[in-house]
């Protein structure tokens, strides 16, 4: 008694998607962990210190999460209004955050109450950052000003009022304590030097600037605003280098992978795109469920944290090879029942005789139904399947068994419309056409008599007809093009070959030439 041979699902060559080192690297993340916050997540910042906790600013709170915890390890709630831009200092001890109530608060990471409170802005503060010497704070506000504050005596050092719209992004130089950059809704990016009264460089992004990012070398500056991501060369006096337009909604956040080789951009269109920083081509793409407001990468790309407008924080951790093994091992020894554990851990000795248990083969649901010759049910199951190649393989198998007609017959309106939907979706796919054309013909044969009884089915049949007609026209066009190309190739062949191929080929060529002339005329 041979065992049942399951339906063979043919493997079709995948078109378009290539496996590159990048796709392998960026696909090597586990399924995301999702945490619901109280409001839209506006900012995420990783601590530079070892466990690499991260601060998530959402609504009136800042939560600090550990690298693997799903509960916040610490929460700062002393905000009167929506908090913005929770940022760690480079030693990971202090945290600064702006607020809609125009007050900037400085926290000790281990404490609860604000250490310092900086008052002076007149509107909400969306941008805060520490300077590289750790003694000053940069803030940017909706009152069009950006200011520098001294931490020890909590006084305002300087104020710049050059922007003419809200300042929504900014960053400080990590190499020079006096340099910082701000981006504003007035479409400009300005580079300031604290030693000078005025901005030293101005760049026009020509869209409200949402995010700025400095390369670790600080020779290049990346800004995003509108649908554009622009790269500026600071060493050449702010010359635009590249303008990228890969998103179809506003790009809200930028990030850099830990080795500086890949640039990430997150957008309201729910995508995160990853660019190669040498040629600025998109090498990978992540999809998320909602519009993305903030994005951060852990050091060494250990995790990707994304905050969304619906308040969901999504964390993807990198798969580690030893972890994979550990998971597998865990599954193996997990005692489902005590009975099953018995003898499981027994290690066979050298001269033991192995008696293998017959391996039970698991069949897919449609295969089980095919085994029992339940052909209609098998087709139903296959239609429920999302993958069209499986559905088509089952149809092909039914056709081989000579029972496809029986399986297609006897369907009610709902069932039939499901079937027609599938056909409309896939009949012109060159991989499936041979099978589906047979099935379509059978359906037309069977349900010819009931045409006109259901408006839904009729509409679908008309759509199917249009689709097939369009495809035929398309194929005809393609054949014509092919004929033209053949003519061109034939004329460009070396003379010797033409002699070899005698009159027969020549006459065909002539025929083709005539055809193409007719086409041209």
């Amino acid at each position: 008694m041979a065992s049942f041979k399951p339906t063979k699902i043919p493997i079709y060559p995948k078109l378009g998607e290539k496996v590159t080192p990048d796709t392998l690297y960026w696909k090597n993340y586990k399924a995301p962990v999702q945490i619901k916050e109280f409001g839209a997540v506006t900012s995420i910042d990783f601590s530079p210190l070892a466990p690499h906790n991260y601060a998530v600013t959402a609504s009136t709170r800042i939560h600090i999460y550990g690298p693997f915890s799903q509960e916040p390890v610490k929460t700062f709630t002393r905000f009167k209004d929506t908090a913005y831009s929770g940022k760690f200092r480079s030693d990971g001890q202090l945290l600064v955050a702006g607020c809609e109530d125009s007050v900037v608060r400085l926290f000790d990471v281990s404490g609860k109450v604000a250490l310092r409170v900086f008052k002076g802005h007149t509107k909400g503060v969306h941008v805060t950052d520490f300077t590289s010497d750790c003694y000053h704070i940069l803030t940017g506000s909706d009152d069009y000003t950006c200011r520098l504050w001294d931490i020890p005596n909590s006084t305002e050092l300087t104020s710049y009022k050059e922007h003419t719209d809200y300042i929504r992004c900014g960053t400080t130089s990590k190499l020079n304590r006096d340099i910082f950059i701000t981006g504003s809704y007035d479409h400009t990016l300005r580079v300031f030097d604290a030693r000078v009264e005025k901005s030293v460089m101005t760049m026009d992004h020509s869209q409200p600037v949402e995010s700025v990012l400095l390369y670790p070398s600080e020779g290049l500056l990346v800004s995003s605003g509108g649908r554009y991501v622009k790269v500026w060369d600071l060493l050449k006096g702010g010359q635009p280098l590249v303008s990228l337009k890969n998103h179809h909604k506003t790009v809200t956040c930028l990030g850099l992978s830990s080795n500086g080789q890949r640039l990430l951009s997150a957008s309201l269109d729910r995508h995160v795109k990853i660019y190669n920083t040498t040629n600025y081509k998109v090498v990978h793409n992540f999809d998320y469920a909602a519009s993305i407001l903030s994005l951060a990468l852990a050091p060494d790309d250990e995790s990707i944290v994304v905050g969304m407008t619906n308040g969901v924080l999504s964390i993807k951790h990198r798969k580690s090879p030893e972890e994979k093994q550990e998971v597998a091992g865990k599954q193996r020894v997990r005692p489902v029942y005590r009975v099953f554990v018995k003898g499981r851990n027994y290690v066979p000795k050298k001269d033991d005789f192995f008696v293998s248990k017959p391996v039970k083969s698991h069949l897919a649901k449609y295969d089980k139904q095919l085994k029992r010759f339940n052909i209609s049910k098998a087709l139903d199951t296959a239609l429920e399947n999302r993958k069209p190649d499986i559905t088509v393989a089952v149809m092909k198998e039914l056709d081989r068994r000579g029972t496809l007609k029986n399986a297609l017959a006897g369907r009610d309106e709902q069932n039939l419309s499901q079937l027609l939907n599938f056909l409309i979706g896939n009949v012109v796919d060159p991989r499936f056409t041979p099978v589906l054309v047979t099935a379509t013909e059978m359906i037309l044969d069977i349900y010819q008599a009931v045409v006109g009884q259901s408006s839904v089915v009729d509409r679908q049949l008309v759509r199917l007809q249009e689709l097939v007609e369009r495809e035929i026209d398309y194929q005809q066009d393609l054949l014509e093009v092919l004929g033209m190309l053949d003519t061109l190739f034939a004329t460009s062949l070396p003379r010797k070959e033409v002699i070899l191929k005698t009159s027969c080929i020549l006459s065909i060529n002539l025929h083709l030439v005539r055809n193409s002339f007719i086409l041209y005329l």
Partner: protein, 798 residues
């Protein structure tokens, strides 16, 4: 023509084993089946052929156990004889000459000394009418006896052995033919006939196909062509008979069988499902599905523990009580056409051809046994008539047997031709071929030929198709198409690589094109009109400069590739050209006036090495040179071509034939004699210890029987057992209590008649004999061993 008396055309292997119902012996250890002109005895556990009972001169048409002796069987044949065999030793005991071709045989315990056979109606031998006759076997000591005492039982019966059955204790016999069931009661000497109405719509769809009688009750089960089974009762009256109908099969019921106790009814048909019906509770059924091919016969062992089913693909399946398939005896599968042609696997030297649907079979010619089946299509086979299935149409091995290429196709009415080219790599670990690459739709039309390049550097496959192209597939990191070639859009028919793989010849109708596989340049074209090229073949070794071609207009041409000119040509209707891979020889099969002739020649020489006219009737389409595992040392000039390899060919009737020389036959005979050792005894530790003594004793006993002068009492000290006992060190001897019994026995005066310790029917005596006299304690384990041993090594009790 020279007469070659030494070279004969012989059948070698691959005979049908599913022709008639197999017979299981009483102890379920052997299975007997009719196989061509002989009866084969298979071991039911090891699937090995133990004996080949040869003696019939025509097709064996039936086997039946001798009801009076469970170690003997009757076999009947179309040569008009019934033979009685001892199957454990493979000895022909008696031959009864009936004088008419026999189509089937039945025996019944109640009718001692009588066998029932189906023979043609006596008055007209060529008639289609058959009768069931009882033959009284004369009791005579001669080897050959004429049994002329025939008495007709039933007239006009079907010649199929399943169409008649003996009822409860042989009181009646039921036979069916067409739409009529006839029951003959021996006591009343009266037949009853029952008729079925022909189906109204479907004509004679409900004709009887098989009959089986319940062994304990008055009940006859009949199978019908429409898939129904009818259970007939009360059939000893003309009027008040009743029948009930069971219906599960959708095709005809091929065979029916009651189990010996009558508790179950087994049925089988084209669905290849063994159905077990509970007697009296017919709605309860058990199924054993997917047995591989349509069931043609079912046999049940006398104790009911083993079933075996014969299948249409020349297979016998042994089933343990409808639960588990325990063994499969597979013969050479011969479907309607060998579409793949014959091939030799370079590794196993097995003959390869398409077997079961969708499979490629590897058949060992030396052992006459199927090695394995390779599933090419890998799809569930649906046993239903009228379905278009995938068929393996082409296959090719590369020179070392590392790669196998197969082409499967399925043509369905009204839809496109589906072709798959599959490439299989040999896996050293599993010792079989593993699917490596599948190319769907490699060509737009049927692939007509395919061959691997023999060059050792590259692995290249060339496929040739009716779409006017040939394609070269090259193995790089993976398989890819290297070149697509054509010639004036002509349809190519055949292709051949030269022996070193540097040239490829493709026949495009009348023109032979020669290509260089390294640059894919068309080197030259050769043609010798008229007639399209049918077959191409390069010479080997010293003749590799010659290219041979045959055309449809009865021309055999030989071109010299070096000069690109025709060397010679001769008018011959060559149907097949086959080159010997190990020598320069080429075999050409020609068909002339309905017969096939064979010529063996070297391309360089005009004189054939060997020729044989009228080889067989019909065209020979498939032949192959199989390399010998041991070279023959034949000095005769005309037999030298058989020294390195052996030529096998398939006749039109799908018989596998070969050529055999005298020296080879002598060697075969010698080896078969060596095989006569009784290897059916189970090898237990006890046997290893004492089996050899017993053999010697048996021989001595036989000597004593044949030679009355040798019949004298042996002195105890002369016994080998005693000698061994005295001269072996004590620590390697079995326990004294056990040896004691042997010692005591050796002192007894042995009678020349049946020795009690060899008779398995007297185990009680054994017990007493084995009891050690000095302890009075019975050593149970040894006793058990001993009893087992005596039972296993029980000699025939004639």
């Amino acid at each position: 023509m020279v007469a070659h008396a030494e070279i004969r055309v012989v059948h070698r292997g691959g005979s049908k084993i599913n022709f008639r119902e197999p017979v299981i012996t009483n102890d379920s250890r052997f299975l007997l089946c009719a196989s061509g002109e002989s009866v084969k005895v298979y071991s039911s556990s090891s699937e090995e052929c133990v004996h080949d009972l040869q003696g019939h001169t025509d097709l064996v048409s039936g086997i039946a156990r001798n009801p009076s002796n469970h170690l003997q069987v009757y076999s009947c044949s179309a040569d008009g004889t019934v033979r009685l065999w001892d199957f454990t030793d493979g000895i022909l005991i008696k031959t009864f000459i009936i004088g008419y071709p026999i189509y089937s045989i039945y025996v019944s315990e109640k009718h001692g000394g009588v066998v029932f056979v189906v023979v043609p109606m006596a008055n007209d031998k060529s008639s289609e009418l058959f009768q069931l006759v009882a033959v009284h076997l004369p009791r005579s000591g001669d080897q050959e006896v004429e049994a002329r005492e025939l008495s007709a039982v039933l007239c006009d019966v079907s010649p199929s052995p399943g169409a008649a059955s003996f009822g409860r204790e042989g009181e009646y016999v039921a036979a069916a033919k067409g739409l009529q069931l006839e029951v003959f009661f021996f006591k009343k000497q009266k037949p009853y006939r029952f008729f079925l109405k022909p189906g109204i719509k479907k004509g004679s769809k409900n004709a009887f196909t098989c009959v089986s009688c319940h062994p304990k009750e008055d009940c006859i089960a009949t199978g019908h062509a429409d898939g129904k089974i009818r259970l007939w009762r009360n059939f000893n009256q003309k009027k008040e008979y009743t029948y009930s109908t069971l219906h599960w099969h959708h095709g005809a019921v091929n065979t029916l069988q009651f189990t010996p106790e009558g508790t179950n009814l087994l049925s089988g048909g084209i669905e290849s499902v063994l159905v077990q019906w509970r007697y009296t509770q017919e709605n309860q059924k058990d199924f054993l599905p997917r047995l591989g091919a349509a069931i043609t016969h079912i046999a049940v062992s006398p104790d009911g523990s083993l079933f075996c089913t014969s299948h249409s693909d020349n297979k016998i399946t042994i089933i343990q009580s409808c639960v588990k398939v325990s063994a499969i005896i597979q013969g050479l599968v011969k479907s309607e056409g060998v579409r793949t042609d014959l091939m030799i696997d370079p590794r196993s030297k097995a003959l390869v051809l398409n077997g079961k649907p969708g499979h490629l079979q590897f058949y060992s010619l030396h052992r006459d046994k199927q090695l394995y089946n390779l599933d090419i299509v890998q799809q569930e086979y649906i046993n239903e008539e009228g379905l278009d299935q995938f068929e393996v149409v082409k296959a090719a091995f590369d020179a070392h047997g590392d790669w196998l290429a197969t082409v499967e196709e399925r043509r369905q009415k009204g839809s496109e031709l589906e072709i798959n080219l599959k490439l299989w790599a040999y896996d050293e670990q599993t010792q079989s071929f593993v699917l490596n690459t599948t190319v769907t739709a490699p060509h737009e039309d049927q692939i007509t030929a395919m061959c691997f390049s023999p060059s050792p550097e590259t692995t290249m496959l060339v496929t040739i198709s009716f779409d006017g192209h040939f394609k070269a597939w090259l193995l790089g990191a993976s398989w890819s198409c290297d070149f697509v070639g054509g010639y004036h859009l002509l349809k190519p028919g055949c292709c051949c690589f030269s022996a070193d793989g540097s040239l490829l010849a493709v026949g495009f109708q009348e023109v032979v094109t020669v290509w260089s596989p390294s640059s894919w340049e068309l080197l030259t074209t050769l043609s010798q009109p008229p007639g399209a090229i049918r077959d191409l073949c390069f010479g080997r070794l010293s003749c590799s400069k010659y290219l041979l071609g045959t055309s449809t207009k009865n021309q055999l041409c030989c071109w010299n590739i070096l000069t690109c000119s025709l060397e010679w040509s001769t008018p011959m209707d060559v149907s097949l050209l086959q080159a010997d891979p190990l020598s320069e020889n080429i075999a050409a099969f020609c068909s002339q006036s309905g017969c096939s002739d064979l010529f063996v020649f070297k391309p360089g020489e005009p004189r054939p090495l060997y020729s044989q006219r009228a080889l067989c009737t019909g065209k020979v389409q498939h032949a192959i040179f199989a390399p010998r595992d041991q070279m023959l040392e034949s000095c005769e000039e005309h037999a030298q071509w058989l020294n390195r390899s052996q030529l096998y060919f398939l006749t039109q009737h799908m018989d596998l034939m070969t050529f055999s020389t005298k020296t080879e036959e002598d060697r075969l005979l010698a080896s078969s004699k060596r095989l006569m050792v009784d290897n059916s005894v189970a090898v237990t530790p006890f046997y290893l210890l004492l089996g050899k003594h017993r053999l010697q004793q048996q021989q001595q006993q036989q000597e004593a029987l044949t030679n009355p002068m040798a019949e004298r009492i042996q002195l105890p000290q002369g016994s080998i057992a005693i000698k061994e006992l005295l001269y072996t060190p004590a620590h390697v001897l079995p326990s004294a209590s056990f040896l004691c019994s042997m010692f005591v026995r050796s002192l007894l005066i042995s009678s020349s008649s049946a020795r009690p310790e060899f008779n398995p029917e007297h185990p009680v005596q054994e017990l007493e004999l084995c009891r050690p006299p000095h302890t009075g304690r019975v050593r149970i384990p040894i006793l058990v061993y001993y009893r087992l041993h005596t039972i296993y090594s029980s000699p025939h009790t004639i």
